[in-house]
Symmetry: none
Subunit: 192 residues, 4 copies
């Protein structure tokens, strides 16, 4: 990588980092582009060399972070041995919950704008996300559900888990995440 290329990468990265820090601490609404560039230590115009507007950075951050989490979780899950699919899935979900428990601000940021569409996009572009679908299909191979229905069940489990995480971790409603987990896991067991 040339010196110029390296410098560009550094600027872009510092903008990402600054935006992420401000979005999570001050909120998206309260973060101005001038705040981001000030924190990143670059000129205002530089921002527009890399991003269209505030929501452009946000979208890219959400996609990156979401993919990162799922990627780590699936990698970790695949490195372990399980008796059955149920155990594997619950381990995977538990890993994500524990991760988000430690990254409350990240959870707050990504949940509101994380949609099934984003996940589907990541699924196409990233090998690791693809593996989640693979794991899920494998787990359901003995059932009489077709591929589309399996996807719908996965969608519901993800949405349910996401909702529970957001409400319990961020809002502490209706209960603490640790108190909620057994019920959630029980529910997921019933679903699959």
């Amino acid at each position: 990588m040339s010196k110029v290329q390296k410098n560009k990468k550094e600027k872009e990265d510092s903008l990402y980092t600054a935006a992420y820090d401000l979005f999570t601490t001050k909120g998206i609404h309260n973060t101005a582009i001038s705040d981001i560039v000030k924190k990143a230590g670059v000129a205002k115009g530089t921002f527009y060399l890399y991003f269209k507007d505030k929501y452009d950075v946000l979208d890219k951050i959400i996609l990156n972070k979401s993919t990162e989490i799922l990627s780590i979780a699936i990698k970790k899950t695949n490195s372990e041995e399980f008796l059955n699919f149920e155990g594997k899935l619950l381990y995977f979900i538990d890993y994500i919950i524990e991760y988000l428990k430690e990254n409350k601000l990240l959870l707050k940021l990504i949940y509101k704008d994380l949609s099934w569409g984003v996940i589907k996009k990541a699924y196409k572009d990233y090998k690791e996300i693809n593996e989640i679908f693979g794991m899920f299909e494998e787990g359901f191979k003995d059932s009489n559900l077709d591929k589309e229905d399996i996807e719908k069940v996965l969608f519901m489990i993800i949405e349910l888990t996401g909702s529970v995480c957001y409400n319990c971790i961020v809002l502490n409603e209706p209960a603490d995440i640790d108190k909620m987990k057994p019920i959630l896991f029980n529910t997921i067991k019933k679903i699959i």
Copy 2:
């Protein structure tokens, strides 16, 4: 009600209506207070006699509309006869889904800011919402779940239904709501 009081009520109502119309059609972000007062046909200063700011109206609208929907649904459900609790619950949920299907813009508006906290608040203040909890507790009376756990299950069913409605009706992801319904109902059956 005196003439003055009636006039006040009219102004407040016109502000509510104008705000609701603009929020649903133009979006919250793109609606300014000046837009609301122009549409409502009142002076700018008048807005501040009734509301703190834009988000104050929004919160009140969400609370009102949410309560209204749930209230209608529970009233309708109570006017019918059912063989068992499962049938009753699914009828109740189906009614809400069908309602939101017809009111896509409303769904879009309330979902993003509808939290368990709002529902809990409505539950304390409105008789009809209270009945939903009553119906649910009644349905679980034979199980060995305590009151808190029952509430958690209800919470999950509501969150799951809300997520499915938002994704399928507003975003059409991962499938049309009518294609998703059987899976959702099946899942709810498994949960209870």
Copy 3:
């Protein structure tokens, strides 16, 4: 006029005056709205209560000033006695030339954006401008030209006079206005 109305008029007038002064001295391109409001002694937002943007004030200034000049000139001309139409027309034109000679900056400002369309607009709205057309038609009543052709001749005389004024007074090209006048007048005599 109420106090509020008077105050509004004052603000608008001060914006007009400030804009005119800056446009003529610094040029349109080099005048920012912040300059105008600073000079006018009002807040930035106040500008937008009265005008759409910089070019909105400009258009209105051009229309006002143009109408004003023509209005004064026709009034003055009508107060004098003439042997024939030719004398009357040349007096009218001479009056305008002398006026613009004393108001070089105004000439510079209005010429570039003064079009026949603006004059036609003023002709419909202002009684005095209308009289110019009347005077012209009266002068041509013995010719065999129809109304439309008379208008075309008037148009050419105005354009020619305007061009000569701008070039000779503002740019001093190809000669001083006083040296050019005889040729211009001679030409106009030939035209009518």
Copy 4:
């Protein structure tokens, strides 16, 4: 011409062409230097190797194009035979009008900034433009006008023609150019 010099010429030409295209289609105000270089396919810095700023290219374009038109018109006129000076002059003017009728965008671009000064400059530098003055002086040799007055008459005819072209072709005011032509030609006949 060396390869390097050829390359330089190519770059400069592509900048001219790009600027001309953008000025005529998007307008001068709405064309940024970044637009020009993008269209020309050169780097931003390269622009400054050839031009001072946006108005530098503009001035050069106006001078080039104006000279080009006049040059073609005089060449064409000189290749024809005429009974008298009047016929020759009107042919010359008509040629220019027809040319501008087909090049509305060019007319729009050059008119606003085309001054007698530009023509005088071209007259000194370009042989063909010089011939126009020659033709004119030749045509007036029997009158008792001195050289300076002849120039003034020429100036007025050019300004009048220019005004009529701009208003009738670009703005369609006060009439279509073809409807205006007879009156214009008649007027010019009267002037000379």
